[in-house]
């Protein structure tokens, strides 16, 4: 599913964010990406979404080398994966339903199908009854779950999360992580960047640990 081969990323200001990173994420696998802030977690995720390009090595998704991916294919790469951000990037002037349905509208899905799929996604995150509300009417934890619903509404085979519990208290964080685990159970490949080590420790999944741009630990 995802493969990093000798990947390095140096920003134009000279900062080396990633140095010779190698790892493979099999289809259906769930893994955590840890490290202190500035260790290169966000950079690694940006290479996967092609928000950035690596300076050396190869990032392969489904066998496709992302540095060779033409710009016009980037939107289709992003439809292939669901991405959950630390702040959920919801549109305040649209209802929960409209926020979650956005990826489906973009893909040109029919209206009847949209209603069905949005409700399925909202049901999955336990917020089925909130579809007519606006984001500001929801708590931070609920907003984050709406972000997850939007990420999975398109049924992507690959789910990425960048500090999804960063703004949440421990109880809510555990709930969110459980949600990711459930998605992993039904076959989705999941990669979560997080520094919430205590929470990660009790999840029993593979951990990729970055330090100063180097991948120094890969395993349980």
């Amino acid at each position: 599913m995802l493969e990093f081969k000798n990947v390095s990323k140096q920003y134009s200001n000279g900062h080396e964010a990633l140095i010779n990173v190698n790892f493979t994420l099999e289809s259906g696998e769930m893994s955590f990406l840890t490290g202190h802030s500035g260790a290169g977690k966000s950079t690694l995720l940006k290479l996967i979404t092609r928000a950035e390009r690596c300076t050396r090595g190869q990032v392969l998704i489904d066998g496709q080398d992302l540095s060779l991916l033409p710009d016009k294919k980037i939107p289709y790469l992003r439809r292939f994966m669901g991405v959950v951000y630390q702040s959920p990037h919801l549109l305040d002037d649209r209802t929960i339903f409209d926020n979650v349905s956005l990826p489906l509208i973009i893909a040109g899905v029919r209206y009847q199908e949209i209603g069905r799929r949005v409700r399925a996604a909202l049901d999955k995150v336990g917020l089925l009854n909130k579809e007519k509300l606006y984001p500001h009417a929801l708590s931070t934890g609920e907003q984050q779950r709406i972000g997850i619903a939007r990420a999975i509404v398109n049924k992507p085979p690959f789910l990425l999360a960048d500090e999804p519990t960063g703004n949440l208290d421990p109880g809510l964080s555990a709930e969110i992580m459980e949600l990711f685990d459930e998605l992993h159970q039904v076959g989705v490949t999941v990669l979560i960047a997080s520094h919430d080590l205590t929470l990660i420790a009790c999840m029993q999944h593979r951990i990729l640990h970055l330090k100063h741009g180097y991948l120094i630990k890969d395993g349980l």
């Binding site: 289809s27 992003r78 439809r79 990037h89 040109g108 999975i152 989705v188």
Partner: protein
Amino acid sequence: MKYQSSNQTTVNELPSINIPQADFRIYALSHWRALLVSLRRLMHTPLESITILAVIGIALALPSGLFVLLQNIQKISLAWDQQTKISLFLKTTVNDTAAMQLVDRLQLEETIAQVNYVSPQQGLERLSKQAGFTQALGQFSDNPLPGLIEVVPSKAMQAPEVLGSLVEQLQKLPEVDMAQLDMAWVKRLHSLLKLSKKGAYALAIFFASAVFLIIGNTIHLAIQNQRREIEVIKLVGGTYAFIRRPFLYRGMLYGFLGAIFAALFIGLGLLWLRDTVAELAAEYNSAYTLAGLGWSGLGLLLLSGILLGLAGAWLAVNHYLRLAD
């Protein structure tokens, strides 16, 4: 929510990184949604939208209104052209019989539509009917008037360029003393019309540029207001075409609705002029009525509006997307 199992051997059945095959249904649906979204955005700020549409309407109405007026003047001047007559004053040595022979000859000419002979006697009668001349004519013992042939040129010969050559040709006839056409004013009117039309074209280009810039700037502001939305759309896999589409439709809507405003303004203007023109026409014993834009004019106006809106929006969106890269 059921997930398809992600097995690497069945990658093709999953959402794929590859650009999906073109599907007309999806394409049409996306366009329909973009149109609806742009309409909703226009109605979301009704006062602002109406102000912009009124400005576009005025800018489009000025040059197109001028064209309508010029069209009307041209129509009137064509009616005058049909009354163009060339008067052939015959030499006094030409008697009635010779004159009638000339009339017969002229009637065979293709360049001439109508020939009418006024003998010196008839000329005298005509003059004496007009008050004040009877006494004056009484002073003459002989009839001082020459024979007169009135020639109405055929339609093809009425254009001022060819009319002159016809007059010259008639002047050369041995029986004719003088061929007279007061065509200076016809010529002047035609060149004035030509000049006005050129001015109207320049004005049209000027105002079309203004409409283009107004719509471009309005779309630019709309994009600034929706930057966050555009960013989110990009994050979840929206193509540039998807981002661009609602703005292009919005530009076209501004142009189209603005053109409708312009047509209304022109209609109101003509309505306001109508009574005055009717009074004026009555004084000239004419039933002349003002012509409006007409269907083809309206079509052209709407099309120009739509194209200007599309171009303005295209410029604004592409400028933004290039900067965003």
